[in-house]
Amino acid sequence: MHAWLISDSPASRLQASAGRFYRAGGLLLRNPLAVAGVLIIGLLIVTAIFAPWIAPESPVGQNLSNRLLPPSADHWMGTDELGRDIFSRVIYGSRITLMIVALVAVISAPLGLVIGAISGYFGGWTDRVLMGLTDVFLSMPKLIMALAFVAALGPGIENAIIAIAITAWPAYARIARAETLTFRNAEFVSATRLLGASHLRIIFAHVLPLCTSSMIVRVTLDMAGIILTAAGLGFLGLGAQPPLPEWGAMISRGRVFILDQWWVATMPGLAIILVSLGFCFLGDGLRDVLDPKSAGKS
């Protein structure tokens, strides 16, 4: 199997791409930080999938006589102001976090990628208009813009995610454009045009795939920020609707207890830090592996 994967003369498309992933995976696994990242994110995914089996209690079940209990054997992370088990809430909250992460990655990265690639590839007025738009979005405060969108779209976690996604794409557009510029005059692009390929084909089949690896790196690194933006919305009371166990909203609600019942805000805070770190580690590791410029450096 190993030999099949690392063969430098693969016999099929499948083997070639499997080999590519295998090699990248191998490199990734040799990077300790990246391994930590993979483990943390793996943990997040497993937790999200198996939340009902892991969580000892319901995330919304209230018990007003068990309010604000400190961490103990019964309640590993204590209980919150409505007597809910924080551990169970954190476990269920991983689903929301995962959804935020996934949806933003699915919405804003491709959006930024396409806008940036089109802008960079065509240049001229297209570029000026698209980049002007990007600049406008970029120069608006992120959280404020997200807030405005949430306010406009109405509360709810889906809307919060859409709002975050809308604020996140300009950075990706910038990167994609910069990258596109570096090879829009490359000979392989000229060669493809000479074969009669249309602009769209070149952008989607040739330009975009080249931007994706740095985009993946960037997206994983930005995930921390995105989770925090979501938490910020929660902090300001928007975003998830109660009683959803969204981590940011949990911290937000727990912050008045921070001096006397530190665990209410701190436990979801630690969860955020852990997952953010996981993405950062993974992103850093991916950068080492995927980014040809820094390949081979630790």
Partner: protein, 505 residues
């Protein structure tokens, strides 16, 4: 540590929009107006439940002639040094009507309009005659004249600062021109208010040389400041924080408030029009569960629209959490379940917690709330437009007369969309039965004080029994302060917060 002659208060003051008494309509600005200005008659620091003499030393009511005659106190002066003249009184009251900003409606109830106000309020020598138009109990009239917009401003100074015919409104929103115990020294929105004592106050100079309200939005930060001794008083701590305070140097004082908290159902939503649903709802609120936990000390169970502690309040609390009973009611009435509706709530403590508790207890009976948290402005916008379904909100009287709340909870003579009213009834599209409407108007004009109070009790009972409004709690206000602070008076509304008697030792 704070200086001995200065009271430093940590408080969330970002609600202030205007501090001109003719415009001020927020909680914090109400406090400022109270401490900076005087009214002819006022509820005062010594006992905020008793109507006392203000700038008027004496007054006489004449229900027949629909007039009240005030005799102006001798020797009262404004902060500017100008004496308080009868022209200031007439001018100030007329100014409110002519500017017609939000609180003007309180005075306008007396039948005053920009056209007639100069005739309705007249001065002669040392007396001021106030006429009103309508069948009002004199008690009601005096309560109106003790309200915030009836504050007397230094007309000479104010008119000197008039810009574009605004009667000094712009200037008064950044400065003060009153005769009260304190003078405004600095006001920076969402940052700081600094009050300076008025040494010549006619009831004696305040003990403190100054009061500083420092804007601190975070409750946890307020707690830290108080514990560090960097402020003398923290105004926005939560019950849990208060319960957690174990320092000997900090004491907590509780003040019952006039605001009542309720859950209401918009009658434009078909699922919520069945009186059985209203009734079942009364048994689905975990009153004591909430009051004993996260609302501890912050709210009391109260199920009528006029707050207890005030004459005319209905203090019965016939309903308690009883899901079986609720289910039975719903079943007997054949209500189609489950009902799923949105519940709008202000996204701040303790409202979201209350909403979650309601959500949990109502769910047992098949009424599912989808909680929609929003900013205060967002929630009110929706409420005004009557597009909500269920609403968790509170109501504080505009002035301390039962009519203020009766009108809001038991009166709605025209439920049409065009007839916008800021009342709980209209906003929930509840067409109040005619009988109730008539009773409300009758109570307003009842000249006999005791009979009048009885009528209000009846009104409260009616609303308690059958209305789409479930009144649950009456607020209390807990203020944590340094142990050596004494004399802080906090009445039932923000209009009754007094710093005049505060001392530190």
């Amino acid at each position: 540590e704070t200086p001995p002659n200065l009271l430093v208060v940590a408080q969330n003051i970002d609600d202030i929009v205007a501090i001109d008494p003719a415009q001020a309509y927020e909680f914090t600005s109400g406090e400022l107006v109270t401490n900076i200005y005087d009214r002819l008659v006022q509820y005062d620091a010594e006992d905020p439940t008793v109507l006392a003499a203000g700038l008027a030393s004496d007054w006489e009511t004449d229900a027949e002639a629909k007039t009240v005659t005030f005799t102006l106190r001798d020797g009262a002066t404004f902060h500017s040094g100008n004496p308080v003249r009868p022209e200031d009184v007439t001018g100030s009251l007329a100014r409110v009507i002519k500017l017609d900003l939000t609180p003007a409606f309180i005075l306008a109830q007396l039948g005053w309009t920009p056209e007639n106000v100069d005739e309705m309020i007249t001065a002669e020598g040392n007396t001021i005659t106030v006429k009103y138009d309508g069948d009002f109990s004199p008690a009601f009239v005096l309560n109106v004249l003790a309200s915030r917009p009836a504050s007397i401003v230094d007309m000479e100074t104010v008119m000197a600062n008039e810009v574009d015919g605004d009667m000094g409104n712009g200037w008064l929103n950044e400065n003060s021109a009153g005769s009260g115990p304190f003078e405004l020294q600095t006001f920076r929105p969402a940052e700081l208010v600094r009050l300076k004592a008025n040494p010549d106050y006619f009831k004696g100079a305040p003990a403190m040389e100054g009061v500083i309200l420092q804007h601190v939005a975070e409750a946890a930060t307020q707690q830290l400041l108080l514990e560090q001794g960097d402020v003398d008083m923290a105004r926005n701590l939560t019950p849990d924080q208060i319960a957690g305070i174990d320092s000997d140097e900090i004491k907590v004082e509780a003040f019952p408030q006039a605001a009542v908290h309720f859950l209401s159902f918009n009658q434009k939503n078909d699922a919520l029009t069945d009186p059985a649903v209203w009734e079942a709802a009364r048994y689905l609120v975990d009153y004591s569960g909430m009051v004993d936990s996260f609302l501890a000390g912050q709210m009391e169970i109260h199920q009528a629209f006029w707050p207890k502690g005030f004459p005319g309040a209905l203090e019965d609390t016939p309903y308690s959490y009883d899901p079986e009973k609720a289910e039975q009611i719903l079943e007997e009435a054949g209500v189609e379940l489950p009902i799923t509706v949105e519940l709008d709530v202000i996204n701040a403590a303790p409202f979201t917690d209350m909403a979650q508790s309601l959500q949990a207890s109502f769910a047992d009976a098949g009424i599912n709330f989808e909680i929609l948290p929003g900013t205060g402005a967002q929630v009110i916008t929706k409420y005004r437009e009557r597009t909500h379904a269920a609403m968790l909100l509170y109501w504080g009287p505009d002035f301390m007369d039962p009519h203020s709340n009766a009108k809001a909870f038991a009166y709605n003579s025209d439920n049409s969309d065009e007839n916008y009213q800021a009342t709980t009834t209209w906003r929930n599209a509840w067409a109040v039965p005619d009988e109730l409407n008539e009773k409300t108007m009758a109570a307003l004009s009842e000249p006999d004080a005791d009979a009048r109070l009885d009528q209000y009790i009846e009104l409260q009972q009616a609303v308690q029994e059958e209305s789409p409004i479930v009144i649950m709690f009456q607020a209390a206000y807990q203020v944590a302060m340094d142990d050596d602070v004494s004399g802080y008076v906090n009445g039932a509304t923000s209009d009754f917060v007094f710093y005049r008697l505060v001392e530190k030792d």
